[in-house]
Amino acid sequence: MSTRLATGGRLIDRSRTVSFTFNGKRLRGHPGDTLASALLAAGQVIVGRSFKYHRPRGVMASGAEDPNALVNLGAGNRHEPNQRATTTALFDGLVATSQNHWPSLNWDIGEVNALVPRLLPAGFYYKTFIHPRPFWKHVFEPIIRQSAGLGRAPDPRHADPDRYEHFYAHTDLVIAGGGIAGLAAALQAGRAGLRVILCEQTAHWGGRAPVDGVEIDGLPAGEWVNDAVEQLEKMENVHLRLNCMIAGVYDHGYVIAYERVADDSPGGDAPRHRLWRIRSAQVIAATGALERPLSFPGNDKPGVMLAAAVRDYVVNYGVAPGARTVIVTNNDDAYRTALALDDAGLAVPCIVDARPEANGPLVQAARARGLRVLTGMGICNVKGLRGVVAVQLCAQSGSGAVVEDVICDAVAMSGGWSPVVHLWSHCGGKLTWDEAGAFFRPDPMRPPTNQSGAGFVSCAGAADGALWAGETLENAGLITRRVLESFGSSTDHPMPVARAAAEAPMLPVWMMPEEAGPKKRAKMWLDFQNDVKVSDVQLAAREGYESVEHTKRYTTIGMATDQGKLSNINGLAILAKALDEDIPRVGTTTFRPPYTPISMGAIAGEARGPIFQPLRRTPMHDWHEANGAHWEPVGHWRRPYCFPKQGESHRDAVNREIAATRASLGVLDASTLGKIIVKGPDAGRFIDMLYTNLMSNLKPGKCRYGLMCSENGFLMDDGVVARLDDDTFLVHTTTGGADRIHAHMEDWLQCEWWDWQVYTANVTEQWAQIAVVGPKARAVLEKLGSDVDLSAEALPFMGWAEGRIGGFDARVFRISFSGELSFEVAVPASQGRAFWDKIQEVGAEFGATPYGTEALHVMRAEKGFIMIGDETDGTVIPQDLGLDWAISKKKDDYLGKRAQERAHMTDPARWKLVGLETLDGSVLPDGSYALAEGVNANGQRNTQGRVTSTYFSPTLGRGIAMGLVLHGPDRMGEVLDFNTTKPAPKGGAAPTIKARIVSPVFFDPEGTKQNV
């Protein structure tokens, strides 16, 4: 069983303790512990269960590569699943629970899956659940959902209480990894004057070197690291960041870094995570290497760990993963673990070395201490159900005949090391197979390239395959020099020199023992998180899977939260062997960002709560809010839908607002309407091209309604144009059209008609615009006092004037979207609120009633006015809407004219706009279809029209609608059936609603109300 040693632990502070809970049990650790080291110190060998077989799982590694120690972290609104215990800093009050077990961690009913391993072979899901079809939904899926999944999803009723943020940085060089290679590279680049950001994903500088007994420039690695960091901190051009992982490298030197700012201090003012969005000319990935497991039967049992992780726990945290640890290896590096354990006074019963001979200096050192070294041997079985009690040894070359049982409670395994090439590969860097080390390393001839076609990512040190510390710094020096050269920089300062014990070559061992039979192969785990064994990959190969990408998806090897950091090379080596191919020919799966999972909160950044999206506010927004507006989102604007009074329904409020407007006085905040100035000698010509009707003959002081089409002929916007002077037009667009139409104008002016003398400016927000509407509209404005003559003679319908109203600087437009006498008054936005308040005050005696967008919609529908987005949907042309009167016959051209002459556009069978009146006075459902006889080829009911707008009209006391109907205008008075969403009664037909085709102008067709 694992335990805390009496002494040691270079990263922990033994003078203080912190307490935490695991599955409700109160445990203690020290500041500096990871959750994993604290759990091991507390003797917690089993920390979770595997995905498929629910096998007990223990801590296997000491860093980001660990596949097993995933926990639910935090409680309540801070609960987060799948958090890696090996990278979680311990803090006081930490709450963790284990995952994927039922009913308990120590006894799990799903473990039965493992007792019947034939139950879930590779490709099980694909093979089993295809037939019979209904079984999937009703039988298999519920069972799988019950047992599958790793962590527990957060409760959707909880909102994350923490905050997050982004941070943009620009630099010359990003260095990923604060081990000795990264530190040395940063020192050189810093001396050369480059701007450097150096990120280390853990809380400590130095990487493995201090644990592995490396000496640098005559100093123990730990001391050299401290000196290096001290020097770097003094360099103004170098920025150091701990707890900050480079998550991904993208085109154009875009680098994402994930900084865990306050994971270990929840509830403070700091953002929990910060996402760095960096532009860097060059990236050095000094990301080190990951140790590989060995594939021997029972290698997944809790207590079997990576050899380097075992010495990490001993040296860094003063934690012994076991009292008696067997080492199993194919290389010299694992002997460091034996020596570290021996140094700590822990028993190493034997070192099982698969190589026929082992005589390197580290091996000699182990032998010199009297440690038993068994060469040419392997492990053929691990005994113990929920931990290790013994291993059985065999000859590596045979099929696994037991030659000896060794009592032990932990196994430290090492199958060699793989460089972390992820950042090299994210943006397309290619790899080459290194025969000597049996790993993929970056191919220097095929780097990821930048916008100039030059490489912009380099791997340095172990990440470049220079695993042995002596070579690591030499390699990092060479790589850094090349990177500096790309900037035209250099430094004369020599690179530090590292000294470490020499290592004899490793021996690739992909199966242990080499000739293991099927039963043993079914117990050799490749992917510990997803339960993929040697036998599964071999089965996939037998079933015809040749591509490593397909095999990944078929067997699930390398999937989920660890993305095969431990299983990748071992898996593809087994696949290559099964296919009788070379490993490099089989290749690896694709490395994609992020390197390890990053939080959704970090990706969202600050965009949540009140600043989730920009909310656009008119100058009168606060008044609306204070007066109980029910909001409608219109783009990013919020517009009042209606202003319900206490206890009033929205529908009643809308009806009241319409009645008041038609009877006396309504007031609308129309500030969101787009307002674009178009000016220049060619402005008239330009406006004539934008609109379907003739605008250039508009006189100053006058307004005209117009339609704007795309070059494909489809109606895209409408609005009123006012001519300000000979050279200048003011174009009103729809609320949603303001930015889009301005961009459309600039597109044509800049790309097509660049020689036309026209300037545009979007002044939408310069003006607050208030529609004063109703029979008393003139009276209220006159009462306010105006130097503008507002009489019908001086300012007739579709005229505009400028002056002062109630002391405000104003433009008054006599335009009406309601059919009432209407003045749209524009005042500078800064005066908008004051003007609005004044209108309410002075209008009180006329019953001034603010109205919202729904009343606006109903009133325009009563008048048969179209609405962009209701009557149009991108497939509708003005001719469909009976707007032929607004299409100039005189003009040679306008945008959309040619398109509108195409056969499909002039087809008389195009559905055309009509009014619709239900026979029973009810309101037609939105989007309802007019039914036609028969069914189409798909057995669907034929249709002959559809509803585009439908409302209850309080003015008429009945439902009114507009719709597009086949030959509609020629069929006045005909009655059509419209479908509903109501279900058909048993044995009967689905209910329909009958409506009569009428004119779309329901109210005041002569326009007597607006022309007064």
């Binding site: 943020e165 100058p619 220049g680 310069q766 600087d809």
Partner: protein
């Protein structure tokens, strides 16, 4: 009725790593014209020389900022913006141009603090390279989800301009970014 005129943020202020304040009503005029041909007229009206790309020049109580190859933003007294439009139009009579008062279409914020904290705070909302932005250079950019512009008045004081309707959003963004717990120490 300009005595009743209100800026979008009505004097809002927030303090943290830096201080963010509403500048109140500021005069702004957009001029679109052939800049080479209008240098004389601009200098005559504003007293400021024609700025080069992204630069700002200063006249009598007026600043002129280069916004694009055919657009300037002239910063002046709020009450004087209409007169500025009229003066420009007069000086540019006969030359194709568009001068328009956009004072109320925008909001202006003042952000003050230590040189590093100031840039760190802004770097949370704009992808612009703030270390490379000299004092008195206009940088049109993105403020997270909206368009905006930034310039440094001095090393320790910045201006942020955005559209009026999103003034609250930009203010809230800055206030959140300036919270004391979020110090970065990068710049």
């Amino acid at each position: 009725m300009s005595e009743l005129a209100l800026s979008a943020l009505a004097g809002a202020k927030a303090t943290g790593l830096v201080t963010i304040e509403d500048m109140g009503l500021c005069g702004m005029v957009t001029l679109r014209a052939d800049l080479a041909a209008s240098a004389g007229a601009v200098e005559q009206v504003t007293g400021a020389a024609m700025p080069g790309p992204r630069a700002m020049t200063t006249g009598q109580g007026v600043q002129v900022a280069w916004m694009s190859p055919d657009e300037l933003l002239i910063l002046c007294d709020h009450a004087g913006a209409d007169a500025m439009v009229a003066a420009l139009s007069q000086a540019l009579a006969g030359q194709h141009h568009l001068a328009v008062n956009v004072s109320d279409a925008r909001a202006v914020l003042r952000v003050t603090g230590g040189a590093g904290a100031l840039r760190d705070t802004l770097a949370k909302i704009t992808p612009a390279d703030l270390a490379a932005l000299p004092v008195q250079e206009m940088r049109r950019t993105r403020l997270q989800q909206v368009a905006g512009a930034i310039w440094f008045v001095t090393d320790t004081e910045a201006r942020v301009i955005c559209f009026r309707s999103v003034a609250r959003y930009v203010f809230d963004l800055l206030a959140m970014s300036a919270r004391d717990g979020g110090a970065v120490g990068y710049h």
